[in-house]
């Protein structure tokens, strides 16, 4: 019976009728006058259908892109971390080179402004890590003209003195060592004095300074040239503290060395002309 019904709906008359209805619908729809509202209503239904049909695909696409994006981000992060580490290393190297370059410029400037001094440029080889001893090794020795007792400078101040010169290296005692004394004079007043180290790389002490001595905070102390070791007029340090001793006769004067103790790589050994005066910077 069902088959008969289908046959009934498939007669030539049905075909013709449906085709005519189709053409009528097409014409009516194209005229845009009568089917606008039904089409709008149907659009709501079709939108829902489209959404439902495409939801799994969109979900899968979203999921895969999310996973892919996350993996890409992780890879990118690792790559950036590697680049960052490389950059840090490179940056440190550049900093080191810049510092070394700056030191060399200062050393060159020192040579240029001290034409009477004969200087040998030396590089710091090692720090002698013994408590109470402020000593270093430099890579210049007797073969380079370095001898015991010669002064060692950096670009900003007196650094130390050679105490043992070997063929290719030398041992230098810093002015911050307790065993060394540097004759100085106060640049402002011309007062002579002697400073010694206290074992601290940032501090010197002016020995036996009487309370009547013309010394003030901030005074620049330069080498007096007495003894013929340190070039006259070369900076040594700046007075940072003046306190009267308990005896009331002397005062304790602390001096900050101008040389960058333990922070220099390039130094100058005065191999000649130490008694001449250093030109003002």
């Amino acid at each position: 019976m069902a088959t008969d019904a289908r046959k009934r709906f498939s007669t030539p008359t049905t075909f013709v009728l449906l085709i005519l209805v189709s053409i009528a619908l097409v014409v009516t729809d194209l005229s845009g006058q009568f089917l606008g509202v039904p089409r709008q209503l149907m659009t709501w239904v079709t939108n829902g259908l489209y959404g439902g049909v495409n939801a799994p695909g969109r979900w899968m696409s979203y999921s895969s892109s999310y996973i892919q994006d996350r993996q890409e981000l992780l890879d990118l992060q690792r790559e950036r971390e590697r680049e960052y580490q490389d950059a840090v290393v490179k940056n440190r190297r550049y900093d080191s080179l810049a510092r070394e370059n700056s030191e060399l410029r200062h050393a060159l400037a020192l040579v240029q402004r001290s034409p009477h001094l004969t200087l040998v440029t030396a590089e710091l080889s090692a720090l002698i890590a013994v408590p109470g001893r402020n000593e270093i090794l430099i890579n210049r020795g007797r073969t380079h003209g370095v001898q015991d007792g010669m002064a060692v400078l950096d670009s900003t101040g007196i650094y130390g003195q050679v105490v043992e010169s070997l063929p290719s290296t030398s041992r230098v005692i810093l002015i911050t060592d307790r065993r060394i004394a540097v004759p100085v004079l106060v640049e402002r007043s011309g007062t002579h004095a002697v400073i010694t180290g206290v074992g601290n790389s940032s501090e010197l002490v002016l020995e036996h300074a009487e309370v009547t001595a013309d010394i003030e905070n901030g005074d620049l102390l330069v080498a007096s040239g007495l003894g013929g070791v340190y070039p006259r007029g070369y900076p040594v340090g700046v007075v940072t503290s003046i306190e009267p001793e308990a005896s009331g006769v002397e005062m304790r004067v602390l001096v900050e060395p101008l040389a960058a103790m333990h922070r220099r790589t390039w130094l100058q050994v005065v191999v000649g002309g130490a008694t001449s005066e250093v030109a003002e910077e």
Binding site: A2, T3, A5, R6, K7, F9, S10, T14, F15, L18, I19, V21, S22, I23, A24, L25, V26, T28, D29, L30, L35, R39, M42, T43, V45, T46, L49, Y50, V53, N54, G57, R58, S61, S65
Partner: protein, 170 residues
């Protein structure tokens, strides 16, 4: 003889054709594939019209076409008209032992696919933004429909269709 399996298969195939028409291409698929989209509705209707003429009503084809008009936002009646002609051709193919002759079946398919594209071209010329030029004939869609026919035929023949021993429609 009534064959429920064919009725179920027929319904399922129509729904699948509907879904395949509506579903978007995967995001990784190249856009050029949109030109190769087969006319699934036409293929399914043509298959059932040629292979199961006794169980396939032209009214169902027309309603199915109307549904596609709604989904495609095409002028009402356009796909109904096309599918009516498709079913008309499918039902009237020469047959042997209640099955269509393959040569005629393919020839009929070629005709209805081209007919469908031409009718769509003509009608779409009257819509607001008609596409000019021969490209609107969409030869790639025709090629894709013809190529996909073999997939449809194999799937429906092998897993869906059960041969009807009832008298053939004529």
């Amino acid at each position: 003889m009534k064959l429920p399996r064919n009725n179920v298969g027929f319904s399922i195939s129509l729904v699948v054709a509907l879904v395949l028409t509506m579903v978007d291409l995967p995001h990784f698929a190249p856009d050029v594939l949109t030109y190769f989209t087969p006319n699934f509705a036409l293929l399914v209707c043509y298959y059932w019209a040629t292979n199961l003429p006794t169980n396939f009503s032209v009214l169902v084809a027309w309603l199915f076409g109307f549904l596609f008009d709604v989904l495609y936002a095409e002028p009402f009646g356009l796909n109904g008209l096309i599918l009516c002609v498709v079913v008309l051709v499918g039902l009237n193919l020469p047959r042997r032992s209640n099955r269509p002759i393959v040569g005629y079946q393919l020839l009929g398919l070629l005709g209805v696919v081209i007919f469908a594209e031409i009718v769509r071209l003509i009608v779409m010329q009257f819509v607001e933004y008609p596409v000019q030029g021969l490209i609107v004939l969409m030869p790639w869609s025709i090629v894709a429909s013809l190529a996909f026919w073999f997939v449809v035929a194999v799937i429906l023949d092998r897993w869906i269709y059960v041969e009807d021993t009832d008298v053939s429609f004529s």
